[in-house]
Symmetry: C2
Subunit: 424 residues, 2 copies
C-alpha cells in the first residue's frame, strides 16, 4: 500500500512533483509546458479565487475582461515592458488552416496571414491602458479599480507544474489614479491583501519586500512582493504588486483633466497572483505522506470512511456516516462520505492522507455500539476517539486548530531553518 512518493530528504524536487501528480492536482499535458489542472487541484484553486475575489471587491474593485490577444505593436510602446516579455511570447501569425494537398491532414493556410501578428497575453498592461485612454477623461473617472481573472502565456523553457508553466491562470489588477500618492497607497494596500490572504487562508507566513531594480516587473517604477520560505530553505515569490508610475499612461497617452482644469498623465498600479500559489501551498505544508491542506482551502474538510466486514455492516455504518455528515454540514463543515464499495478502507485511508484531507473519521460496527468514532488529523497524524454527539463542536474547533497549527509550524520552520539563498 505504498504511495510511491519520494521523501523530501531524498529528492525535494521529485517529492514535489510526486505530490502534485499523485494527489491528483495537476498533470503535464500533450502541449509542451502547459498543464492540466485536475478536478481536485482546481477545487482548491476555486477556493482561493473565491476568497481573493471577495477581498478585492471588499476593497472597492470590480472585475472586467480584456482580449486574450495583444497586437505586437502595443508591446513595443513601453520600452522596458517589451524588453522583459519579448523572449517568451506565443505569437499568432495566421487565422486559418486548410487541407493539405494529399488530403492527409491540415496545414496553415499561407493566404491567411495576419497583417499584424498577435501576442497571446503574457500580462495585460498594454491592451488595458490602450482601453483606459477611452475610459478616462477627467478626475471624475478616477480612481479606476479593475481586476481580471484570466489565463496568460509566457513561453518558459524549463517548466514545473504550478510553479512555472507556459500557460497559467491568474488575476491581474490594473488601477488608474489621479496622483502618485494614491497609486503608491493602492500598491501597498494590495500587497497587504495578498499577505493577509496568504497568512489567513493558506496558513503561509510571508515576508513583504521590495524588489531590486533588476528584479522589477518590466515597466514598473517599483515592485513589492510577498515571499514565503519553502521547506528546503528556498524562497518562493507568491505575489507581486507594482507601482507603474506614469509609464503606461505615457506610452498610451492616457491623460485626465484635474479639478484645477489642468491635464496630466494618469498614475497606475498592477498586481497579481497566480496558480503558482498552488505550488507554495503544496511545498509549505506537505510531508512525506502526501499533501497537507489548510482547512480553509480544502475541497472537503472531513472525510468519513466506513469500516465493515459484511454488506449488512456496510449498510449500517454508511447510514450512520450519512447522519454524521448531515450534522457536520449543519455546522458549516464540508464533508465527503467515501461510500465506494469498490475500495477497501485501508486504500481509502491512504488515498485521503495523500490528498491532504484535514480530518478523517473512521466508523465501524463496534464504534456504533459505543456511540463513538475514531478521528485522525492530517497535520499531526494524531488519532483520537470522540463521541458522535460531540462531533460538530469538536470538529469545528479541531479545524480551527489545524489551520492555526499549520501557520505556526511553517513560521517555526522558517525561523529555525537555514536560508538556502535561492529561489523557486
Amino acid at each position: 500500500m505504498s504511495k510511491d512518493i519520494s521523501t523530501r530528504a531524498e529528492n525535494y524536487s521529485k517529492w514535489y512533483n510526486d505530490i502534485v501528480t499523485k494527489a491528483n492536482l495537476a498533470d503535464n499535458s500533450a502541449v509542451r509546458g502547459c498543464m492540466v489542472i485536475k478536478p481536485y487541484g482546481y477545487a482548491i484553486w476555486e477556493k482561493m479565487q473565491q476568497a481573493l475575489d471577495k477581498m478585492f471587491k471588499d476593497t472597492g474593485h470590480v472585475n472586467a475582461y480584456f482580449p486574450l490577444f495583444i497586437p505586437k505593436s502595443f508591446l513595443s510602446k513601453e520600452a522596458a515592458h517589451v524588453e522583459g516579455f519579448a523572449k517568451e511570447c506565443a505569437v499568432v501569425t495566421h487565422y486559418r488552416l486548410k487541407n493539405d494537398e494529399n488530403g492527409k491532414g491540415v496545414i496553415v493556410d499561407p493566404d491567411a496571414k495576419l497583417e499584424e501578428e498577435l501576442i497571446v497575453r503574457p500580462t495585460s498592461e498594454t491592451i488595458i491602458w490602450n482601453t483606459y485612454r477611452e475610459w478616462i477623461q477627467s478626475y471624475r473617472d478616477l480612481p479606476l479599480l479593475i481586476n481580471q481573472w484570466a489565463n496568460v502565456v509566457r513561453w518558459e523553457m524549463r517548466t514545473r507544474l504550478f510553479l512555472r508553466t507556459a500557460e497559467f491562470l491568474w488575476q491581474e489588477g490594473h488601477t488608474a489614479h489621479a496622483t502618485a500618492e494614491e497609486a503608491v497607497e493602492e500598491t501597498e494596500k494590495m500587497l497587504e491583501v495578498y499577505a493577509h490572504f496568504a497568512e489567513t487562508f493558506m496558513a503561509i507566513p510571508v515576508i513583504k519586500g521590495r524588489k531590486t531594480a533588476n528584479e522589477r516587473f518590466a515597466g514598473a517604477v517599483d515592485t513589492y512582493c510577498i515571499e514565503a520560505m519553502m521547506q528546503d530553505g528556498k524562497a518562493l515569490q507568491a505575489g507581486t504588486s507594482h507601482f507603474l508610475g506614469q509609464n503606461f499612461a505615457k506610452a498610451f497617452d492616457v491623460k485626465f483633466t484635474g479639478k484645477d482644469g489642468k491635464q496630466d498623465f494618469v498614475w497606475a498600479t498592477s498586481w497579481g497572483v497566480s496558480t503558482r500559489l498552488m505550488g507554495a501551498l503544496i511545498m509549505t505544508h506537505s510531508d512525506d505522506q502526501g499533501l497537507v491542506l489548510p482547512p480553509k482551502l480544502a475541497p472537503f474538510q472531513v472525510v468519513i470512511v466506513p469500516i465493515y466486514r459484511s454488506d449488512e455492516e456496510f449498510q449500517k455504518v454508511c447510514d450512520a456516516g450519512k447522519s454524521i455528515k448531515q450534522e457536520l454540514e449543519k455546522a458549516g463543515i464540508s464533508v465527503k462520505l467515501d461510500d465506494r464499495d469498490t475500495h477497501k478502507p485501508g486504500f481509502k485511508f491512504n488515498e485521503h492522507e495523500l490528498r491532504g484531507v484535514p480530518v478523517r473519521i473512521a466508523i465501524g460496527p463496534r464504534d456504533l455500539e459505543n456511540g463513538t468514532v475514531e478521528i485522525a488529523r492530517r497535520d499531526t497524524l494524531e488519532k483520537e476517539i470522540l463521541h458522535i454527539q460531540d462531533l460538530p463542536t469538536k470538529i469545528a474547533h479541531l479545524l480551527e486548530q489545524i489551520q492555526q497549527n499549520l501557520y505556526t509550524r511553517a513560521l517555526t520552520k522558517r525561523e529555525e531553518q537555514p536560508l538556502a539563498f535561492k529561489q523557486w
Copy 2:
C-alpha cells in the same frame, strides 16, 4: 438628456449595439473581433456563471482546466471536427520576438518557429479526449463528469458584440460514459439544465430542439439546442448539448474495461453556453429606453437616488437612503445608493434606466416628511408611492413580480409575433 439610442423600429441591429455600448456592457477592442467586457457587463456574466456553476455541481459535475493550445495534429484526428473548425483557427507559429535591426520595435524571431503549430482552442474536445485516455481504464472511472470555464477563439469574419466574437468566454462540459444510453441521458439532462437556467434566471422562454445533420456540431452524432425568439422575430441559439457517440474515443483511442472484462470505446457528450447568452438577455427584454434586466441577474436590483436642493438636504436624504439600503439588504436585496454629488438626479434616473436596474427608489425631503418614497419599476416604467417601513417586503415581492412579468411578456411576444425564419 437624450440617451441617443436608436429605436427598435428604426434599426433593430443598431438599437442592440447602442444598448451594449451605452449601458456599459461591452466595447469593441483594438483587436479585430475581440471585445472588452466592461465591469457592468461582466457583473451580469458573473451572476450567470454562479447560477450555472451551482446547477452543474448539483448535477454531479466538477470543474477542471485544460490547455489553451491544441496541437494542430489533434484537430485532424476527428475528420468532421477539423472540417468544422479549420477555417476559423488562430494559429501560434512562433514563441519569441526579437528586436528588429534598426531598433525601432520588435519582429517575430524566425529562429523561434514551433515544430508543430498550436491552435488557440476553438473548443476542447480533442485536447480533453487525449487526456481522458490516461484517466480512463475501467468502468470504475466512469462516468467522468467534467466542466471547464474558459475563453475560446473562433476567427469570425463578421462579428457582433456578445453574439459573435473572435474570442468569447464560455463553459464546456465534457463527459465520458460506459454506455450510449447514459451519454444520451446526460446530453438531454444538460439541455434541461440550460432550459431551466434560461427560463428561471434569464426570464427567457426557450424551445428545445434537435439540429439537422447540417447544423450539428462538428464531430457530434446528435446536437440538441435551446433557441429563444428575439423581439425582431429572429431565433437565437442560446446553448447546445451534443451526443458525441464514440467519435472522439475512437479518434483518441479511449477504451475502458467493462464489468464483464470486455474492452469498448467510451461514449461522450459535450455541452456549452457562452457570453452569447448576454446577447440573448439584452435582445429579449430591453426596450427603446435601454437595457432591462431580470432581478435575478441584475448586478444591483435596486438603486436609490437622492433628490435635493441644498447640501443640507443632500445629507439628510443620503442618510435616509443609507438606512433604507441596510433594511433592504437584510431582506437579501442588492442595493446601490447613488450618492454622487457630481451628477443631477435627472441624469441618474436616465442612466439607471439605460442600465436596466429593476427598481428605482427616489427619495426627497418631502418624502422624508411623509415617511414615503417613490418607486419606479424598470419593466413597465410604472411609478408608485410606498411607505418606508413597507419597503423590504414590498420590494422583495415586486422583484419577484418583475422576474415573472419579464418571462410572461417574452412568452406572449413569442406567441404573437410572426417568425422571421432567420437566425441571429
